[in-house]
Symmetry: C4
Subunit: 198 residues, 4 copies
């Protein structure tokens, strides 16, 4: 019974993340210009497209870790449900935050909001993992799969996001590079973290 319940929580979470990730496209609006101006208008959409790709990849990354964590569960409790809903609440805000960094790409506060939402989602995911490991929700044989998601490196992911908040006030562009780096740098980051944890 629990297994089926678990799969329904996973399915609902997948649903929310699938809708949120697809709503990102609403940020890229077809331009309203004369036919002659369309080529220029499409070139002007490139920053919106970049924001779309960044957010899609980040939400996709969150989906991958969420899916990896839930695959290790043997049961769940009320705290996990509450944390999971909080996680989804933050993920569902990403389309809004993406609009913001796209419309105000040079304004620090826009980047700060984006970084804070991403960081909070990563932190809640880390808390979810830590709680699951402590409360015995993780299958004994799959602890090795769950442990990295509750480790220093996973917390590091959240920390980089939170660090992008003050950085955004110095330079929103550097904040963008920090978010993009989260997608690329996680393998080196993991190696550093392993070294730190020893």
């Amino acid at each position: 019974m629990d297994r089926q319940d678990l799969s329904r929580i996973g399915a609902f979470s997948d649903g929310v993340m699938a809708v949120a990730i697809t709503l990102l496209v609403l940020n890229i609006e077809a331009p309203s210009v004369s036919n002659d101006d369309l080529p220029d208008a499409i070139v002007d959409l490139i920053p919106s497209l970049a924001a779309y790709v960044l957010s899609f990849a980040l939400v996709g990354r969150y989906w991958v870790i969420h899916h990896g964590l839930f695959a290790t569960f043997v049961r769940f409790d009320g705290v996990l449900l509450a944390l999971n809903l909080t996680f989804l609440m933050l993920i569902a805000l990403v389309p809004f935050a993406t609009n913001l960094i796209d419309d105000y790409s040079t304004v620090p506060i826009a980047a700060a909001v984006f970084g804070a939402i991403l960081g909070s989602a990563a932190l809640v995911h880390w808390l979810m993992t830590a709680h699951a490991l402590r409360a015995g929700l993780v299958h004994e044989k799959l602890r090795a799969d769950a442990v990295p998601l509750g480790s220093t490196v996973a917390l590091g992911f959240a920390m980089v996001c939170f660090l992008s908040v003050p950085v955004a006030f110095l330079s929103p562009t550097v904040a963008w590079f920090m978010w993009a780096s989260l997608l690329v740098l996680r393998y080196p980051l993991r190696r550093v973290a392993r070294w730190v944890e020893r």
Copy 2:
């Protein structure tokens, strides 16, 4: 066969609730202001964000009880299907109702509509549970899980929502507190109800 049918009803319900809960974000629009005015405009979004959090948590709460009820079912009938569709019809109205209480936060009728929709959804869920228990749709061994969802405390949830309708005409703010209390106070409420039922 029935088990699979049941899981498809659950999946469809999850789909509707996942879309409805994610559409809540469309209420928080990226502001259209000059770059200099963005910090103030973002501060002005805080009430919208509060409405988002409240509605997300409430729909999440409805999802949790719906999911808990369906986990106890061994089969379904036409009445259940009709009640379930009515429940989903009310849940899918929550993004509209959230827009309303956000755009007209001081207007009684807005809060009254929100309270009436939430109350109706809770009442239909209670009816669904009562019908399922009476019609033998609940697995014998899982009756103990379903019974609380058809009890006085569950009806109390609906009653608090309906009570917020007249209260809204005295003070919309008090109505807001009543809805928020539904998220926090359900443990004490449950204890009171247990005491009443004895």
Copy 3:
């Protein structure tokens, strides 16, 4: 393998119908009026709400028959996939058609478009059932469940919708009653059809 494939087709269909049914709420827009005019503006929303309830119930009805049909399948083929996509394409048009009959409630062509879309969806569903029964996609033991969905009564459902197209040009209101009657009258209709088929 086929069983799992089948369940993924069902899941995709559920997804499309769940999104389409939830998008119906976008038709009910929060009014943009002064606080004092809100009560009147909400009363003015009642026709929109009626259109929402009607379309939600109709799409819900289509979901119920689709779900009943798919529960009888033992395998599928390319024709079924194509018919199913056509069915979903028509269902996904319902939010548009609902907007239309709501914005132009007294204009015959709006009601005619609504009736034609609903009728086409019902007809495609009937064709899907007929094809499944002929091509041996239905589980032997479940033929009794599938047969009614390919019967005269199911075709009657489509026919009432198509009949509402010319009727709309006489009176859109009568067309509305015909659609609403589809939700209420299917039990008597079934009895009539059984009598006809003898």
Copy 4:
């Protein structure tokens, strides 16, 4: 465990494709005209409806091949997850691209963007199949089902889309015919490809 993980990847992909395909309807807006002008306004919607049908059928076609490919998998790896997310990122752009070719049906660049997005999605799907076959993600007994999706004919699908990009600059209408032909001509195309591969 892997099987369940796989089904969750399928479910998430289904979710994204189901939302993307249903969002296509937002491109067909109910007209804002006087009651008398509605018949003409609805006739004017026919090109939008044609774009809707084309895109719905194309995304539906992508769903069918994606679903066929995933049914052959016995496990997955990180590369597959990344390619799958890239595929979904491109599919989720189709509602935007459909808006574009509908609003600017005679402008070459609009058709070029549409063709490039479709072609990229087909190419990524082909890469996904090729990777899966090489990395041993495909069930031994189901290789025969996966091989065609990684073959010259599947690549031909992508090539026709990419070819429509330069063709669009000569005539957007010819590009439309090329896309529509993808839906109809795949059986002859398959026969040609089989002949080429010999």
